[in-house]
Subunit: 207 residues, 4 copies
Amino acid sequence: MRPALGPKFRRRAGARPDEILDAALAVFTDKGFEVARVEDIAAAAKLSKGAVYLYFDSKEELLRGLIEREIAPIASRLAALANAGTADPKAAVRLIISTATQLLDNPRIFATPRLVLSVAPRFKEIAAFYRRRVVDEAIGAISVLHRAGVAGGVFRDIDSEAVARMIMGPLFIQAMRKHVLGAEETASPERRIDAHIDILFEGLVVR
Amino acid sequence: MRPALGPKFRRRAGARPDEILDAALAVFTDKGFEVARVEDIAAAAKLSKGAVYLYFDSKEELLRGLIEREIAPIASRLAALANAGTADPKAAVRLIISTATQLLDNPRIFATPRLVLSVAPRFKEIAAFYRRRVVDEAIGAISVLHRAGVAGGVFRDIDSEAVARMIMGPLFIQAMRKHVLGAEETASPERRIDAHIDILFEGLVVR
Amino acid sequence: MRPALGPKFRRRAGARPDEILDAALAVFTDKGFEVARVEDIAAAAKLSKGAVYLYFDSKEELLRGLIEREIAPIASRLAALANAGTADPKAAVRLIISTATQLLDNPRIFATPRLVLSVAPRFKEIAAFYRRRVVDEAIGAISVLHRAGVAGGVFRDIDSEAVARMIMGPLFIQAMRKHVLGAEETASPERRIDAHIDILFEGLVVR
Amino acid sequence: MRPALGPKFRRRAGARPDEILDAALAVFTDKGFEVARVEDIAAAAKLSKGAVYLYFDSKEELLRGLIEREIAPIASRLAALANAGTADPKAAVRLIISTATQLLDNPRIFATPRLVLSVAPRFKEIAAFYRRRVVDEAIGAISVLHRAGVAGGVFRDIDSEAVARMIMGPLFIQAMRKHVLGAEETASPERRIDAHIDILFEGLVVR
DNA sequence: CATGAATGAGACTTCATTCAT
DNA sequence: TATGAATGAAGTCTCATTCAT
């Protein structure tokens, strides 16, 4: 019960912890946190069950450590995004959509948000942590871009959060359909990106 | 030999399974399928542990029964939707967005998709069942509306699935943020509906 | 826990109790006392579970009542046997073997000893009751016959209990093989009876 | 989350399964398979409940493993018996009776047949296995001896199976009386052996 | 550092028994 | 009498965690 979830997570030295976290991510994603057995994770990391406990105090700590590790690069990338793109907001939005589409198509990448969502009912701090560090940051970054576009006269002046939802929502629901519900892909990433940007920029209605 | 106690009082047995399913939905949603104890569900239904097994063979069967019960009305509503709206596709899309927004804002309603997603890794058939009966149906219904709009000259001729994603994605990601990650609502449903329709119909870019 | 097992067993009136005991014997024999469910017995007696408890206080009482009922006629028949046969001991032994062979071939009849044996580790009183009322009585009856035969110069003067074992043992082991282990019969009852008597009377060794 | 205790001390793991089977045999014999709790067996083996499951998948598997282990030496001994004794069939029969009497007098030895019989209604394969590997083998061995004796002119030419029943039946019924019904011994093993052989060889009737 | 045997709390499930009707 | 819904103790089995080696 260590609810604190800060930037520095206790961990012993060497490469082992990372290998264990890799294994944990794979097993948690495959079976879910509750069903995953510590022994499964140990086996996936080619270690004995006991050895896992040399690096992590408990299964819960393993989860926390994993979330931390996975979130860090995303968070910093998101922070960079906003500033980088204000010069050409349209191009920046295009880049976001195409990058995010490709990332979310990757099961290894989508594993973390998926895991966070699945453990959220039980680990409120993890949910809150992710919301703050990832979701709110992403909305913030998109908002900055949108405002820049509005200021530059290229974007209509509408609710930035709604814009963020129109950018991330379609990507997210598609990832869920594919990775969680096991749906077949019906269009290539490229076509999805193009269609997404097209509708987002031009709208659905004939003018 | 075994002590044994009798029933505290008796109620109309006919409604029992439904009461249990109600309790199960609440408890599963609150804690997740794995963490939920049958005894929790029994307590929520004001029954003893053992009584649950008079109506359902196992915890898994409880889950399956629940999903089936919850999915049935959604599936039939979706089937109706497509035909109903082809006369005025714009109004129909508006109606879908406003209805779906309100439904997904309701935790009781959102509980089922959420539960399905959380058990999907373990219960592939449930995932497949939901995908077929709900997701594919919804996409189909939207597609019919969209094609009708294209035929009538009101909608641009683009990929219908992308349109479906632009309709459902923002609603779904918002519901996740709110119900699963515990985010505060920053805009009223009405404003979200308006903004959604506005961007969807008109696009983001200034003309 | 009523270890007393006397001649008069409490039971309510009517034919029901007997029907229930019939059902109990069938189910106990089929599955064993522990595995048999009261509901199985009730179903076999075409009654509801609760009704069984109108006639018997518990599953254990059902067992005790059953044993009592089944043992009574055997016990009295055995008592009669000894006196009846002293006139012609050889014929009497022949009769015992042929009667017992036929009785033990009958699964319904063999059910009780079999049941007694299976519950003996748990219900010592039942074991003791059966031993006293049936086994010891049978040995006693055979002993009387044997001594009469010795007195009459037809039987050799050997240990009567050993004689009893040579009479009952082969029958019993055959019944076990057939009814419990499910062995096929390789000889008709008549041939078994004849062979049994032949060896018992004449011995195995050539003279 | 789960508290968890570690091992109290560690022993040579190699012998563990056998120790558990020893404990299982004792407890199964004492209480019967159904009534025996895995925890009882664990305690008898000086282990915790959980440890039993490190070596056996289930209580049933424990039973099966036990039967197999116990049957193996009996089966091979029986196979040897027939060939060994054809030179002097009378002596061989004498040896069988005296050996079997002593074996069946030993509760530890009689435990297995007794257990097999008690679980036979529920585990048909075990019953069949025992019948084939032990009962049929024993009959076969005796039959070989008997035929050899007939060929050598020492035994009368009668049904070999009946002879087998006259050899094993008295021993078996005596073991049941003593170990299961708790009867007192009224004659020493030696006297029982002598009387058995006497009647078997010479017959009951005066000549 | 690493192993894996061992522990025991706890979950699911069964079923003898009771009791309102 | 009869029914069958309801109860809850108890048993099997799992698995996070510990610790002797």
